[in-house]
């Protein structure tokens, strides 16, 4: 049985995402979280955490300046700015939840054709974002919020929300 969306073939993923329908509760959870986030703070923390915890992801940021150690990464202004940019990118999906695929079409092509990002790395960033938000919300980060499920007829195993956003950007990835 396929548990994770990441093991689905591209055409299966496409089919799944096209069939995602959000309940009112899920919509409100998502808009509440993002509505109360400081994008600059969370974005920069999530990206710098990703580069520290999974150092191989630094491969995409060779031109960003000093990434020599954790301190350098945490204080690097280019990384901070880019983290904010990424959060604003996620915001676009939050504001177009019924049409994430079309919303992300251009970003998806960018990440695959120009930036050549391994889609597995989106999950790593998503995990770091989850952890930064967990740290911010503390006990308010309930399992229900963490679980806002990926809904689709074919793959309904309660994936976390963030990988949905991330895996949508890898649609255009050609095998």
């Amino acid at each position: 049985m396929r548990h994770s969306a990441f093991f689905l073939k591209p055409e299966e993923k496409e089919k799944n995402a096209a069939m995602v329908e959000w309940t009112e509760q899920e919509r409100s959870i998502i808009t509440n979280i993002f509505g109360n986030l400081d994008y600059e703070d969370v974005g920069s923390k999530a990206l710098s955490r990703c580069l520290i915890v999974y150092p191989w992801t630094q491969r995409y940021f060779a031109s960003f300046g000093n990434l020599y150690n954790a301190e350098a990464i945490k204080t690097n202004p280019n990384i901070a700015a880019h983290g904010t940019k990424v959060l604003h990118g996620l915001d676009r999906a939050v504001k177009n939840m019924d049409n994430i695929k079309a919303t992300y079409a251009e970003l998806s092509v960018l990440h695959s054709e120009k930036l050549h990002v391994d889609p597995d790395n989106f999950k790593l960033l998503a995990d770091c974002l989850t952890i930064v938000i967990a740290a911010k919300l503390g006990s308010a980060f309930s399992p229900e919020i963490q679980a806002v499920p990926l809904k689709s007829a074919a793959c309904a195993t309660g994936e976390e929300l963030w990988p949905l956003f991330m895996c949508v950007t890898s649609f255009q990835m050609k095998k």
Binding site: R49, I52, V53, I131, A134, A135, G138, P143, E144
Partner: protein, 143 residues
């Protein structure tokens, strides 16, 4: 990606900080895992109540985190130290090792929630490496 001396120190120091609350960490992580990754519930079909914080979940969360604490103590020799636990998971429980990663992630999330100021990126990377090494040691006897 083996544990450096610095990683081990970081893990031991952080574990000492959370001492006294590790049962809560275990229960919350397990509750979370069952709720967020429902496929993991398949291993607990014999429980009457799988809801977050239920009696079986609390008890088992304590057992699991006790195992992690044991691994911290044996951090210099995880494979040999966790041999019998590995045999248990391989031959009796037969938990698919992919799930170790899932529970590990949930443990990290709970640590971030409960200790936001101490769970820095530096501590995060050391704990992530440690949990991965733990999972590897647990999978030793599988095949």
């Amino acid at each position: 990606m083996s544990l450096t001396a610095k990683d081990k120190d970081t893990v031991r120091t952080f574990w000492a900080k959370i001492s006294g609350r590790e049962d809560d960490v275990g229960t919350d992580a397990l509750s979370r895992m069952l709720r967020v990754y429902p496929q993991t519930k398949t291993y607990f079909s014999h429980w009457t109540d799988l809801s977050p914080g239920s009696a079986p979940v609390k008890k088992h969360g304590k057992t699991v985190i006790g195992g992690v604490a044991d691994a911290v103590a044996k951090i210099d020799a995880l494979s040999s130290g966790l041999l019998s636990l590995s045999e248990l998971h391989a031959f009796t429980l037969r938990v698919d090792p992919a799930n170790f990663k899932i529970l590990g992630h949930c443990i990290l999330v709970v640590m971030a929630m409960m200790f936001p100021n101490d769970f820095t990126p530096e501590v995060h990377v050391a704990m992530d490496k440690f949990l991965a090494a733990l999972a590897l040691a647990l999978s030793e006897k599988y095949r």
